[in-house]
């Protein structure tokens, strides 16, 4: 499975300055500043999932991803303004019939709630909600792969996962 990093970014720190002399021993310098909305996310690592065993009489055993996959997020969305950030997740192409790809994102320590295990498709689904004023990295993304016997033997294939930070409401 392939991964790429997707950045959603908005906003800058703005600072301008000018000088005005008021008196011989004192001078004042005017400063205008602002902090705009900043919402950025990145993802690193890749994961390999192989379904290769089963308990007799049952569908194949779920596979867990091998490889460190994490994400990092920074947002200055206010906790008191009613505005927060969610993280959605999707893949670029749906899985073959009989295969289900799942993901669980660890929520930041400072804020946010993980939706737990979500099923991935080309339709974005919320994986973490309610993130406010947070700057954290190295947050785990855990992948799982389930296959029914109906899927048959599936040759190695890859998908690109996209994480997007969205403002809510």
């Amino acid at each position: 499975m392939k991964r790429f990093t997707k950045f959603i970014a908005a906003g800058v720190l703005c600072l301008t300055a000018s000088v005005a002399v008021e008196a011989q021993t004192t001078a004042t310098q005017g400063i205008t500043f602002a902090v705009s909305a900043i919402n950025v996310i990145s993802a690193t690592g890749s994961s390999v999932l192989t379904v290769n065993t089963a308990t007799p009489g049952s569908n194949p055993t779920q596979a867990s991803g091998v490889g460190a996959t994490t994400y990092a997020v920074t947002t200055n969305a206010g906790s008191g303004s009613g505005v927060s950030q969610d993280i959605t997740i999707e893949i670029n192409s749906n899985m073959p019939a009989g295969l289900t790809l799942g993901a669980t994102l660890t929520a930041p320590t400072a804020s946010g709630t993980s939706a737990g295990a979500v099923t991935l498709s080309t339709t974005p689904v919320t994986a973490v909600s309610g993130i406010t004023k947070t700057a954290e990295g190295g947050l785990a993304v855990a992948y799982t792969l389930d296959a029914t016997v109906a899927a048959g033997v599936v040759s190695s294939a890859s998908r690109t996962v996209t994480l997007t930070i969205v403002t809510t409401p």
Binding site: A9, V12, L13, V19, T26, V35
Partner: protein
């Protein structure tokens, strides 16, 4: 400037301002302060380039109390000396609308 995901917002530096100072006699220093407090989570640092023979205190966090910025200024006239301003904000500052503040520079005796 933006933020690197997982890190606090990047600092922004402005180096367009200049200052001038004239010392008639003795030894002087320049102290600086803000006339209004900044929002929580927002910090402004200032660094004044030192005139010849003087010592800059480097990058100093500005507060509403005077901080030494340049010391041991000997007599002389200097113009157009660089001023470096650095704005930083943590995510806890949130979104801050445009606001104005003033840096007050005061020339005083340096005993």
């Amino acid at each position: 400037m933006d933020a690197v995901p997982g890190a606090q917002p990047s600092a922004l530096t402005d180096q367009t301002a200049r200052y001038s100072v004239t010392v008639a006699s003795g030894r002087m220093k320049i102290a600086g302060q803000l006339d209004t407090p900044l929002p929580s989570g927002v910090t402004i640092k200032i660094q004044l380039a030192a005139p010849s023979g003087a010592t800059s205190m480097g990058s100093v966090v500005l507060t509403d109390t005077p901080q030494d910025l340049v010391r041991f200024i000997p007599p002389g006239q200097r113009t157009g000396l660089p001023v470096t301003l650095i704005l930083t904000a943590t995510v806890t500052a949130g979104i801050v609308s445009y606001a104005a503040s003033h840096v007050v520079l005061t020339l005083v005796d340096d005993p």
